[in-house]
Symmetry: C2
Amino acid sequence: MIDHALDTPFSFKVKNTASDCAARRGRLVTGHGAIETPVFMPVGTVGTVKAVTFESVWETGARIILGNTYHLYLRPGHELVQRMGGLHRFQGWDGALLTDSAGFQVFSLGDLNKITEDGVEFRSHLDGSKHFFSPEVSMEAQLNLGSDIVMAFDECAAYGVSRQEVEAALGRTTRWLARCKDVFGGREFREGWERVLFGIMQGGVHEDLRRQSAAEIVDLDLPGYAVGGLSVGEPTSAMREMTELAAGLLPEEKPRYLMGVGFPDDIVAGVEAGIDMFDCVLPTRMARTGTVLTRDGRLVVKNLEFSEDSRPIDEECGCPVCARHSRGYIRHLFKANEILGCTLATMHNLFFYQELMAGIRNAIEEGKFKAHAAEVTRRWQEGEKNRLEGVQKRTPGGRKKRA
Amino acid sequence: MIDHALDTPFSFKVKNTASDCAARRGRLVTGHGAIETPVFMPVGTVGTVKAVTFESVWETGARIILGNTYHLYLRPGHELVQRMGGLHRFQGWDGALLTDSAGFQVFSLGDLNKITEDGVEFRSHLDGSKHFFSPEVSMEAQLNLGSDIVMAFDECAAYGVSRQEVEAALGRTTRWLARCKDVFGGREFREGWERVLFGIMQGGVHEDLRRQSAAEIVDLDLPGYAVGGLSVGEPTSAMREMTELAAGLLPEEKPRYLMGVGFPDDIVAGVEAGIDMFDCVLPTRMARTGTVLTRDGRLVVKNLEFSEDSRPIDEECGCPVCARHSRGYIRHLFKANEILGCTLATMHNLFFYQELMAGIRNAIEEGKFKAHAAEVTRRWQEGEKNRLEGVQKRTPGGRKKRA
C-alpha cells in the first residue's frame, strides 16, 4: 500500500490549465505520497472512514483522507493518538492526511459555545463536558495527530446571520490564522515528515468580505488555502458564485480547497472555478442510510422497488461492489439491518467519487473539460429531477413518504 | 476468486489418518470448489457473514460457508433468492455453501412452536407471523437456495429434557430424514451443480440412543452425516464423550460434521474423534461484542486495559488486521461505536479459525496431530484460566464487572 517517501517536502504543481475556464490539473506532494488533483478526500471522522477498512479506501483510489480534530480530541484524545505513534499509524493509513481544525464542529456540534478573542468554550456533544479550543489548542492537537496538512482554526459564520456577524467572524479568522502560523511557522518538518498549514477564507456570501478575507490570508503567505463558510445552507447559486469569486482571489501557484462540498455537480462547478481539493461526508453518510450514487442521480437502494433488481448499483461503475453485487442484494442487507449493507454502499459511493475525479482529471488533460463537465452535470441533474418526480408521483400530494 | 468447475460431482476422500487417534485429513469436492478437511465453516446467517465482505471471507482461507435456511426463509424469502439466481449468486459467494435445515432455529428462535408428525408450526422471531416447516418445506427452500450441501430437517431435543422426549425427537428425526431423501434422492444434479443431502444424528447424551440414531440414518445411505444435538447446554465432558462415540458410529468413507461446535479446544477434540467439518457462530458473534481470539485464550479487546496497547491482537497471527492494527485502535473503534470495530474483529476471528484448521491439517499430514492438539489445548485453556482469574482478581467477590 505504501508508495511514498517520508522525507519528500510538501509541494504543489499545476500541470495543465483549461483554456476556456479556470479548471486545472495538478499534483500535490506530501510526506505520505503524491496526490493527483483535482482530488476528493473521503472523511475519516473518528479515526475511521466509517464502515470500510482502510484497504478498501485505498482500493477506491483515494490517497488522501480527512481526519476530524474535534472528534479525535474528544475520543480517544490527541495525546493518546500521539503516544500511539500519530494518526497515520494509529488508524493504519499509509496515505496522506489532512486534519480539520475543529472550528466547524465546535460551532455546529458543541452546545452552548462561548466565543471570545481567545478562543471557544464549548460542551462535548458526547457527554456535555466543558472544553476550550483556541488556535493554539487546535495546532497542538493537529501536530499531535501528525497530519500532513493542518487546517487553521477559523470561525465559520452560519448562513443567514447579519453582515456584522460575518464580518466579526472574518476578523477573528484572520487574527486566529496569524496565531496558528505563530505556532509552527506555516510549514515544519517534524518526526519524519513535513506538516503544512492551510489558511481558511471566510466572508459568507458577501463579495467585499470575501475579497477582504482573501487579501488578509494571502498576505500571511501559507502553503495552501481553503474556501470555508460555503455549503452551510446558502442557495446553490450563491455557493457557485462565491466559489468562483473565491478561487480567483487565491494565488495560482497554491492548492485551493473548497471545504465540505458536495454533490457531483457542485464538484464539477468547483473544478471549473479553479478548485483543486474537495471533501464531503456525503458519500459516506448517504451510504449508511441506504442511498447510493449513480451517474444519473442517487438511488435509495433500500427501497422496495429494488428488491428483485439484479442490476448493479450503476452499470457503468467499475467498483468491486458493482462487479459482484446486485441492487436487490444490497436492498436485502439494509432491510435485514446487516452491517455489510453500509459497508458495500460506502465502498461504492467512495469509488464513485474517485471515478468522478479521475474522469475530471482526464478531461482536463485532454482539453475537454467543459464538455465533460456539462455532460456530468446534465446526467446528474436529470437523474435527480426524475427521481424527485418519481417520488412525487408515488406519493400523492408530493410529500416524501418513508419506504 | 473462482477456482472450481460446476460440473464436478460431489466426493469425499480421506487422505491420511492419524495412527494414534481417529483424526483424519481429507478432501471434500463440491460443484463450488474443493475443501480441505478438517474444515471450519463460517456462518453466513442472513445472506452475509456478518460485518465482513465475501472477499474478506475468501481471504481468510474459507472455501465453504454455512447459510441459515430459517433466516433466509423469513427474509428475503427462498423464492426471491431463487429468482435472483440462487444464494451463491444472490450474495456473491463463489465458494461452496452448506445450508442448515431450519430445524434448529424453529425450535430455538421460533416462539410457541407446535410439533406434529407432519412438521412444525412456529411464529417468526421478527414479526410473530405464523409459518409451517416440514421436511418437504425445508428441502424445497434449500433447493431454491441452491446450496451444495443440504441438511436434513431434524428435531434437536434441548439438553435436560426427559429421555422419553429425546427418544421421540430421535424417531421423528429418522422418519423426517426418510421424507427429506424422498424429495431428491440424496444427491441430485440441478441447475449446473450437484446438491447432496446430509443426515443428522440425534440422541442427546444417551449412548444407546446415539447408537440407535446412527444405525437408522446410516441405513439410508447418504453422502454425509452430521452429529446434531450437542453444544446445547450439556457439560463439556458429555459433549466430548458423545462426539467420540458418534464419530465412531458413522461410516469412515463419508464426511462427518459436528454441528455448532465450538471453542478451539472443542474443535481439536472433535478432530481427534474423527470429525471432518465444523461450524459455529462463535468467532463472528464474539467479534461483534468486542471479543477476539488468540492462541492463549480470548481477549475482551474493548476493555480499558487495551486502550494504549500497541500490540496486534495476537502476535503470532498472520491476518491483515494483526499486520496493520493495534489492540488500542480496535478498542477505540468499539468505544466510539464504529462499524469498523466489528469488521476488524470479525476478520481476525475468522482468520484465527482458518489458521487453527490449517495447523490441524498440517499436523495430521506430518503425523504429529496428538502433540499439536495437546499444545493448542494447553495454551487455549491456560489463557482462558488466566483471563478468568484476572477478571476475578480485578472484581472483588469474583463477580464480573462491566468495563
